[in-house]
């Protein structure tokens, strides 16, 4: 259904034909389907499920319902990288600017930014034993990067600012098959690591001291969870921009619906649910039959936030 809706309306029969490679009457339709709408749908699935799962792991690890991929500063790190490339380009001289401001430049910068922030958080987390402290430190890194971004935007030109803001809107549709393959391979590693972490995530529901008394290697499993989260959230942010809300809200919605805390059920449920919600948001963002496409970032919040509020009001309490 996601594939069938877009700014250009294409008959269903031709969509199916173009998917299975049968000849259709309009070649540009085939192009739209195969190289635009199909990768976009895949991206939506990866983004929704990936962010949802990283949010789920963060909430369990930090024993905090407010945790999400944003709290570790991963997203802020990516933003900083992108801001440096787009707005800082003028500082580095015009010769390099052209090289930097390509799509790959942004992706690399975002990955590098989130990776560096992750590295800093990891180094700190080996020193600090308290998980709550790591959470606060992640938030502080977020504040620092936000401040640097503000300073940069103050000095940058209107065009650079606009380019940065466009990245900040988030986008699912800018990925080629090649980029999608890279996103998918890193995403797979992250998902694999989260599946390995299911048991330790369940043990962590008791609290860290109990988990330790159950023979869990706390440091190792914490590292595993943090790396998995960063891989998922970091690369997704790099390719699709900072997508708000999904990482925080999907795990809550899933918990409320399935009424369980068992990660063996939650992980696949969040995966499905994240993917579905993201696809729906994407459909809405397309404003079917119209020529406009809204920023996906706005849609995820506009659609998602009321749903969470409604769920919470109906259940009268946050289950965690």
């Amino acid at each position: 259904m996601n594939i069938s809706l877009g700014s250009v309306s294409i008959p269903t029969k031709d969509i199916i034909n173009s998917l299975i490679g049968a000849p259709i009457e309009n070649d540009s339709w085939k192009y739209i389907i195969r190289d635009y709408r199909l990768p976009k749908a895949f991206t939506a699935i990866l983004v929704g499920s990936g962010l949802g799962i990283s949010g789920l792991m963060m909430q369990t690890l930090f024993r905090n319902p407010l945790a999400g991929p944003f709290v570790l500063g991963i997203t802020s790190g990516a933003s900083l990288g992108v801001a440096l490339v787009i707005m800082g380009a003028s500082f580095f001289g015009c010769a390099l600017a052209g090289l930097f401001i390509s799509k790959w430049g942004i992706v690399i910068a975002a990955s590098l930014g989130s990776f560096l922030v992750l590295l800093a958080v990891l180094i700190v987390s080996t020193r600090v034993r308290d998980t709550m402290a790591i959470l606060i430190i992640g938030l502080m890194f977020g504040s620092i990067t936000a401040a640097v971004v503000s300073v940069l935007s103050y000095f940058s030109s209107a065009e650079e600012l606009q380019q940065y803001i466009f990245w900040g809107f988030g986008s699912l549709g800018n990925l080629s098959w090649q980029e999608l393959l890279i996103l998918f391979s890193i995403y797979s590693i992250g998902i694999l690591m989260s599946i390995i972490s299911i048991k330790s995530l369940n043990t962590l529901l008791l609290g860290e001291n109990y988990a330790k008394s159950l023979g869990l290697n706390l440091k190792q499993s914490r590292l595993m969870i943090i790396i998995a989260t960063s891989l998922l959230a970091g690369t997704i942010t790099a390719f699709a921009g900072p997508i708000a809300f999904i990482g925080l809200a999907i795990p809550h919605m899933t918990r409320l619906i399935f009424n369980t805390q068992n990660h063996k059920i939650l992980l696949p449920a969040v995966f499905m649910f994240g993917a579905i919600v993201m696809l729906i948001c994407d459909i809405i963002a397309q404003l079917p039959t119209s020529d406009y496409t809204l920023p996906i970032n706005a849609i995820t919040s506009l659609v998602g936030a009321p749903v969470v509020i409604w769920l919470l009001v109906r259940q009268r309490k946050m289950i965690f």
Partner: protein, 264 residues
């Protein structure tokens, strides 16, 4: 307990406990010589800040000892891997659960984690052991209840059942009776006594319920500023060890009733 059943589960020799910082060592207590036999219920009593928690933390390998030796089943505590220790020693802590959105069964089943496979699937044997732990603690009816629906007393029972399901030789409980009313204090300690007898597990708990502990425990560890003594409650009373527990200006120990009373 008859002679052939005698088996030392936990033993400390000249153990000293405390904290080390870069500059100095702070010794909380030293010369601790404790032997716990199989199937014994042992209470640990002492004033606030005397080092009960430090002792328990050291015995459970949460915090390193300063000196001396600790052995569990004749094997030095340092030689246990995390997982081996988890199969030998289980805990009930004072900290609250990270998540209360678990059913009683799920929570107790988490006690089986050291035995389950990489994804944590319960085998038939695991389920039998969990059910047994639930039966021992009279929780079978609450099995499908969520933990946030339980009272403090029920939750404490669930935590004890979880420790039981871990199938260990020793269970150590840190102040299991705090936040409970008088009835449930007695109930929990009585339950521990029953478990020690029926399952032959050694149970060590710290508590401020001295009069209850005197009545129910096989042995008591009395911690004072000067020493750490382990003996039967009867011998403690005869030797007047309880008198040294607190300053004598406010409450005194009455040998006849086996309880403290306020000075009038």
């Amino acid at each position: 307990m008859n002679a052939q059943n005698q088996h030392i589960v936990l033993k400390t020799e000249d153990l000293s406990i405390g904290y080390t910082s870069k500059k100095s060592k702070i010794v909380v207590a030293s010369n601790i010589n404790i032997e716990l036999q199989k199937g014994e219920l042992v209470g640990l009593i002492g004033a606030n800040g005397i080092g009960k928690s430090t002792l328990l933390r050291t015995l459970t390998n949460v915090q390193p000892k300063l000196n001396g030796s600790m052995t569990i089943n004749s094997k030095s505590l340092e030689n246990y891997s995390n997982l081996d220790l988890a199969k030998t020693l289980s805990l009930v802590l004072t900290e609250s659960l990270a998540s209360k959105n678990l059913t009683v069964f799920e929570l107790v089943a988490l006690g089986r984690q050291p035995y389950t496979n990489w994804v944590g699937n319960l085998s038939e044997d695991d389920i039998t052991k969990v059910d047994k732990a639930l039966n021992h603690t009279n929780l079978s009816d609450l099995k499908q209840k969520k933990c946030f629906e339980l009272s403090d007393g029920q939750l404490q029972k669930v935590m004890i059942a979880r420790a039981l399901a871990q199938d260990t030789d020793i269970i150590i409980l840190d102040e299991p009776t705090t936040h409970l009313d008088m009835y449930h204090k007695a109930y929990v300690l009585k339950l521990l006594q029953k478990l020690a007898k029926e399952t032959n597990i050694t149970i060590l708990f710290s508590s401020h319920e001295i009069d209850l502990a005197i009545q129910l425990c096989d042995k008591l560890i009395v911690m004072t500023d000067n020493n750490v003594l382990i003996d039967t409650p009867k011998n403690h009373i005869e030797q007047g060890n309880f008198k040294a527990l607190f300053p004598e200006d406010l409450i005194i120990f009455d040998d006849n009733t086996g309880a403290f009373r306020v000075k009038k």
